[in-house]
């Protein structure tokens, strides 16, 4: 564990050094390659006046809502698919149809149907998250060794008990990796939706922040927004997902 953080810090510093050296060397003009000092100043300036904090909060809350709704829906759909082969056919077809569609391609339709409010962004997030989650969950359910289901039959577990005691725990590694993918994809969906729709309420989120910095030609500000996204990504990966894995699949000996 510790060496992982050490490595991360080490590589972080190396990358930052290379970045700064490139910026200082003047190979690229300052306008297209700002130094870390400029980027950090821009970041602190935005943090100081409070708007960036609110925008981060807004983005995170939209993502949390989208992920929650998508996870519930994905669980229901893939469980139905597991127990009924008719439903499985339908859900399989739906996934095959919708999974390759980028949310951005649906944007014009979503604009017409749901307007450009928060609902629209939620729909884009759910769309980009739901299908990979279903795929992962179904794979997880179907790759449970037969012996487990046979044990369930032996113990005469009913469907509900089977679900809670065997199906979900046994497919948890797939579920967690599905969640990781969902988390990353929800960010992509959110940022692109925000940059396309513009401010969706008085605030807007991080995507709007980056867009605003872009139209006002503030490249350090654009990078500041990107850095915030990276930091949030690392924090969630290291603190939430890793803890979740340590407490479940690692403890149970399903994952190294």
């Amino acid at each position: 564990m510790k060496s992982k953080y050490k490595q991360r810090i080490f590589w972080g510093i190396i990358l930052a050094l290379i970045w700064q050296l490139t910026a200082v060397s003047g190979i690229f003009s300052k306008m297209i390659f700002p130094g870390l000092d400029q980027i950090l100043t821009a970041l602190f300036d935005s943090l100081k006046d409070g708007t960036l904090i609110k925008q981060i909060g807004f983005s995170l809350s939209v993502i949390a809502q989208g992920l929650f709704l998508a996870t519930i829906t994905a669980l229901i759909l893939s469980l139905t698919a597991y127990f009924s082969s008719y439903a499985a056919g339908l859900i399989d077809t739906l996934t095959a149809l919708a999974h390759p569609l980028p949310g951005i391609a649906l944007m014009p339709l979503i604009l017409i149907w749901f307007g450009s409010g928060k609902t629209a962004i939620l729909i884009v997030i759910i769309h980009s998250v739901l299908w990979p989650l279903i795929l992962n969950l179904s794979t997880g359910f179907n790759s449970i060794p037969d012996i487990y289901t046979l044990i369930a039959k032996n113990y005469r577990l009913n469907k509900l008990e089977f679900m809670y005691k065997i199906l979900i725990p046994a497919s948890l590694p797939y579920f967690i990796s599905g969640l990781k993918i969902a988390w990353a994809r929800s960010w992509r969906a959110l940022i692109s939706a925000e940059m396309l729709f513009g401010a969706i309420n008085s605030l807007g989120g991080l995507g709007w922040y980056i867009f605003q910095k872009r139209v006002f030609f503030d490249l350090p500000g654009v990078f500041a927004g990107i850095i915030v996204i990276i930091l949030i990504g690392i924090a969630v990966e290291d603190f939430i997902f890793e803890k979740l894995e340590a407490k479940t699949v690692q403890k149970w000996g399903m994952l190294k």
Binding site: S116, G198, V215, F216, F217
Partner: protein
Amino acid sequence: MKKYLTIIIVLILTLLLVSGCENNEAGRQQKITIAEQYGLAYAPVQLIKELKFLEEANPNLEVEWKQLSNTTSIRESMLAGEVDIAFMAIPPFLIARDKGMEWKIISGLSESPLGLMTNRGDINSLADFKADAKIALPQPGSIQHILLSMAAEREFGEVDRFDEQLLTMSHPDAMNALLAGREVSAHFASAPYLFLESKEEGIKKILSGREAFGGDFTFIIGVSTEEFYEQQPKNYAYFLNALEKAIEFIDGQPEEIAEILADNYNLSQTEMLEYLNWPGMTFTSEIKGLNKFIDFMAAESYLEANNYQYSELVFEKNLAGSENISKEEAVQNEE
């Protein structure tokens, strides 16, 4: 440690390789890349393209026209060295100049009516806008946004009064939304969208660009990078001549122009002529209102500096005339 060192060396080498490629772009001397945008105010540029003024002046010159959807992406491609000449409103030019982009104005291109159009019966002036009424405009920092801020500053003393109800939309999308009566309550439109909207029932203008600015101003200017100006003076001169010719042509023979450009704008010839002759639609190389934009934008901290010399903003070889003329105009505008 050895492993790390190798990886670092590989990274640095890749970086050098990439930067090395950038410099290999020779032989651009005979090529000129111009960014075009859709809109009536860009008619002289369309004319240069349609009648091949540049190719006529120098048959060896390769002219590339790039269609880009908004000012921001034009600015970014100019920064990347992909576009030599572009056309836009004064505020987006000033914002990038202020941030250190090395470019200047070649010429004025057109003055054009702009208008804040609403589809709501209960809105008759800016004061009637409630917080839930959305106003569509191309993007923050665009001329429409600055004009709206100017009007808000004058009427209410709050420059950012409407900033929280803006929706970023392209003109065609905004017009559709306005006509459908959904999502947006108002659209800060330019020509020809302004003209199309003003013909629709139930849509009215509550603020004109002229009222917002408090005088006449140049809507679109031509800009180029200093790099292009210095390294390809001949091509720059060709372009300057072509532009002068196009502006003169469009001013003198609107009927003929309407015939040439109608297809280009997907309009009938009569419509095209009507729009070209619309009151307030003027094609001229003069630049009006530059100082007033600078003063306002600096005072409201859209710009950091406000002490620009005329020669820092406009190329020495230009169509707009010398500094004195522009100063006199600035005085007239103040009045």
